[in-house]
Amino acid sequence: MDLKFLVVDDSVTMRRIVINSLRNLGFANYVEAGDGKEALDKLGADSSINFVITDWNMPVLSGLELVKTIRGDDKISKVPILMVTTRGVKEDIIEALQARVNNYIVKPFTPQILKEKIDQILQAA
């Protein structure tokens, strides 16, 4: 399966680090967005996007709202979502799970953890 990632983060630095890590893991196909709204626009315009990696705290539309919107839209509701965020308290993780993220990484991440979570999501799909 050809994976096309949508990397969503308001920090340019974080987007570059995630994309560098994806490239190192052998995934060369990706697009990026600076907030949840831009991510939804990209998802709507490009049906080949089949994996979303998103931050939580973002302007305009947060990562959590993005997850809820994706899950509520029949056209894109099945897209796997990996949340990568600084929010590491139990209540936040549970809130994200209730919004139906597929997996959760607490920043700062290591490439091993990123690979592990992507593999877990793909195996479960």
Partner: protein, 252 residues
């Protein structure tokens, strides 16, 4: 008789009035000291008010400075990422060349075996062949180069990973900015209504970050796996068919 009684009343009243005047004379110094105290306190209060107003006016500058720090570190981080990318691209180029050299050396080795075979009947070549073979360690050297390249590539990649600190500290600084802005608003309010009620209210006010904030005030840069382990544990509980009740139980 009635007139006498009225006069007695009058004298009594005048006596009362005399007592009041005497008491008033005792009160005068106290009232004077209160007036003096107020004369001294009012300028002090004005000073305090001016000082708070001055501090309040300076707060936006502090906020701007923090925002500038965030912008500067973001710019520096981008530059470091650019340089790291450039190093990685150069290393990839060198690595490709090195692989070509290694392939050539392997081919040369195969040819050398054939040449050596042709030279075996030639008198005096044995010594030269031996000397040549002692000097020819290029394949081993290239293998070492490859190890060093791999290490440098890994180090460069680790540098870029460490730059996640910029995102995390910028969130912490955004949280500080939010806190400063909240304090500024409270101080502005205090300048306008400097009274005890306002002060006691201020102590009770908890400054929270807004729900839709673009930062996490709890963001931490740490190598500790504790939070990721907790996330994994919750995700695993969830994926092994956790019911809503089970999630609620975890939550409680």
């Amino acid at each position: 008789m009635k007139q006498v009684s009225n006069m007695s009343d009058l004298f009594e009243r005048l006596n009362d009035l005399k007592v009041v005047f005497r008491y008033g004379q005792k009160l005068i110094p106290i009232i004077q000291s209160i007036i003096d105290f107020m004369k001294e306190t009012v300028p002090l209060l004005e000073d305090i008010n001016t000082s708070i107003a001055d501090s309040t006016n300076k707060i936006p500058k502090a906020k701007d400075q923090i925002t500038n720090v965030t912008s500067a570190t973001e710019l520096a981080t981008t530059e470091i990422l650019d340089i790291a990318d450039s190093i990685s691209i150069d290393l990839d180029k060198i690595e490709k060349e090195l692989k070509l050299l290694q392939e050539n050396e392997t081919k040369k080795k195969e040819l050398w075996v054939k040449i050596k075979d042709l030279l075996k009947d030639n008198d005096g070549s044995g010594q030269l062949v031996e000397e040549y073979e002692q000097l020819d360690n290029s394949i081993a050297v290239m293998a070492n180069f490859q190890k060093v390249f791999d290490k440098i590539k890994n180090d460069v990649y680790n540098i870029t990973l460490s730059l996640q600190v910029q995102d995390i500290t910028s969130q912490q600084l955004a949280a500080v900015n939010h806190l400063i802005e909240s304090v500024r608003q409270r101080l502005s309010s205090l300048v306008m209504h400097l009274d005890e009620t306002e002060l006691s209210n201020m102590e009770l006010v908890k400054i929270d970050s807004p729900d839709n904030s673009t930062f996490n005030p709890e963001a931490v840069y740490t190598k500790s796996q504790e939070k990721q382990d907790m996330a994994d544990s919750l995700v695993n509980s969830n994926s092994s068919k956790a019911s809503q009740d089970e999630i609620d139980k975890l939550f409680s």
